[in-house]
C-alpha cells in the first residue's frame, strides 16, 4: 500500500460519506465535533477500517470520545495492528 492511513481514510470519507470525491480533508480537521461525520456514518467507517486495514473495530467503538480527526483515527488503527 502506497497511500498513508490518513490519506486512505480521507479518500473514503470524502467520496463515500461526504459524496464530494475531490474534497481535501486536513489531518487535524475536526470531523465529529464539527458535525461533518454524523453518527450513522461512523458504522460505515468502522466496517471500512476493518476491511481495509485488517484490524478489529467494533461498530460502537468509533465515537467522539475515541477520535475527532484523521491523525487520531490513524493512531487508533496503528495501535490495533500491533
Amino acid at each position: 500500500m502506497t497511500a498513508t492511513i490518513p490519506s486512505t481514510l480521507a479518500t473514503f470519507i470524502a467520496s463515500k460519506i461526504l459524496k464530494q470525491p475531490s474534497r481535501i480533508i486536513a489531518p487535524e480537521q475536526p470531523l465529529i465535533s464539527s458535525g461533518l461525520i454524523d453518527s450513522f456514518s461512523l458504522m460505515d467507517l468502522a466496517l471500512y477500517i476493518e476491511d481495509t486495514f485488517g484490524v478489529r473495530i467494533e461498530d460502537t467503538e468509533l465515537n467522539a470520545d475515541t477520535f475527532d480527526n484523521l491523525t487520531q483515527l490513524a493512531s487508533l488503527i496503528e495501535s490495533r495492528k500491533k
Binding site: Q20, S41, L47, E50, D59
Partner: protein
Amino acid sequence: MTTFSERLRSLHSRNPDRVAVTLQFSGATDDLPLTVDQLLRGANCFARALERAGIRPGEVVILILQHSEDLVCAYWGTILHGAIPSIMPFLTEKLSPERYRADLSALISVTQPAALITYPEFESEIRSALQEGDSVREVIVTNRMDRRSELDFDSLSGFQRQPEDIVLLQHSSGTTGLQKGIALSHQAVFNQLNAYGGALALHENDVIVSWLPLYHDMGLIAGFIMPILSGVHLVLISPFDWVRAPYKLMQSVSKYRGTLSWLPNFAYNFCTQKIRDRHIEGVDLSSWRAVINCSEPVRPESHQAFYEKFSSYGLKRDALQTSYAMAENVFGVTQSPLGSEPAVAELDREAFMVERVAKSPIDGRPAMKMMSSGRPLENVRVKIVDEAGSPIHEGKIGEVALQSDCMLTGYFHREDLTQKAFVDGWYLTGDYGFILSGELFVSGRKKDMIIVGGKNVYPQDLESLTYEVPGVHAGRSVAFGIFDEEQGTEEVVIIAEVDSEKSEEQQNIADAIRLHVTKNSAIALRHVKVVDPKWILKTSSGKTARSANKEKFLAELRNGALGE
C-alpha cells in the same frame, strides 16, 4: 364487536401467566419477560394515574418514552382508561432541541392532548414545549407514580368504550405529516387484525420479533398491537439498539425461535452489509417463516442479497415476503401469499416509462424487474384509477385507490383533510401502481415525498431548512430523492445556489447545510451540492421543478461533472 379493553380482559382470563412481551435492552442487561398479568398490572398503574389526574375517556394522551417497560405499560394503561394514546419520538442527540420543541408545540396545538406521559430526564424538555392556555392539563412523570396496582377490570373506564370509538392515533413523520393524526377505531383495528392475521395464518405459537419504532405504523401495528391483542409472543428490541447493532435481530430470532418480522427495504441491505459473521456465529434462522418487506419500494435485489448472506444460517428462501401498507388502512393493504416467493414481473422498460403500461419485454429490448407487493387482503378492494378517477385496465399504471372496513375514522381535528382524501368512497393513496394477475405492483408516488430508510420526508421541509442557512436565499434550493442501489433506499440530495463563486465559501455553506438539515430533520444528509447562481431550473411560472432538477443532477453525475 369488541374493544381493546375487552380483548385484554379475555386474554387475561384465558392465561394470565403466558409471556406477552419480552423486552430486550442494550449491553449486558437481561431480557425482561412480561406476562399478561404483569403487563396489565403495569398498565393499570398508568390507567389509575390518568384517572387521578382527571383525564377523561376519549381525550388524547401523548407518550414520549424510551424503549422500556413503562412505554409498553403506559400505552395499554391509556387504553384501559379509555383515553386515546399516541406515541411520539423522543429527542435524540441527533436532533436540535429547538426544532423538537417547535414540532411538539405544533403537534399539541392540532391534536389537543389532555396529558403527556414521559420519564424524568425528559420532563423539562416537555415543559418547555408547553404554552399558557394549551390543552395539556397534566404531565405524568414515570418516577412520581403510585406503583401499587389492584387490578379491578370493572372499575376501569376503558370498558365503557364502544367498538366505533377512536382507540388510537398514529402520526406520520415529517413536519407536514405531524399535522395529520390518523384516528382509528377499535372496530377498524380488529377488522385489520382479522384480515391480516388471516393472510399470515397467524397462530398462537408464532413469535414476532421487532426492532421497529412504535411511532410508525409498521412498528405500532405489526410489531406491537397485533401480537399483543392476538395472544402472540412479541420480542421487542430498541430501534436505537438495532441501528447500532443490527445483528441483534438475528440473535433474537435464533434465541426465541422467531417466526415473523417486518423490515423496510433498506434494512435488507443494511443487515447484509453491516452484520459481521463473527457476531452471528451459531445463529439459526430456520424458524423465520416470513420476513416481510414493507413501507418502502420493494426490491428483488435486496431480497437476493439478504438471502445470499443469511441462507447458510438457515434462512429459507420463501420466507422473504412483501406487503403494501399504510396507516390510513390501519396497516396492511396487500400481502404476498406465504409459502412461495413473491412474484417478480419482467417488463419492457420503454413501455413502462413512456406508455405507462406493464408489458412483457419484446425480444432484445431493455427489460426491468419489479417485485409484487402481493394480493389485497380479504377485506380490502383495490383499484387503479387514471387522472380523472376512472378505473383503468389491468397492467396500466395509475393511482392506487382502496376501500375497506378498516379505514381511518378521519384525520384527527382535520375534517378538511379527511374530506379531500376520499373520492366517491374510495381512498386515494397518492401511490402509483398496476395490477397483474391479481397482484399489486407499486411503482412510484404522485407526491414529491421521499422515503429514506422507511421514513417519509417532504422536500418542501428540507428546502425550508436550507433557507435557514446563512448564504442561501429563499427559493434557491431544491431537494429530491435519488435511489441508491447499494443502500436499497432513496438518498436525499439538496442543491443550493449561492452568490459567492469562491469554492472555499461554497464548501463552508455546503457543510453548514449538511449539519443544519441533519440536526433538524429525520434524515442524515450526505449529498449537498452548492452551485453558482442560475443552476436551478424553474418553470415558466417561477416554481422550482424538482424532477427537472433531479434529471439535470443525474446527468451531471453520469458525465462525471460532479467534482464537488
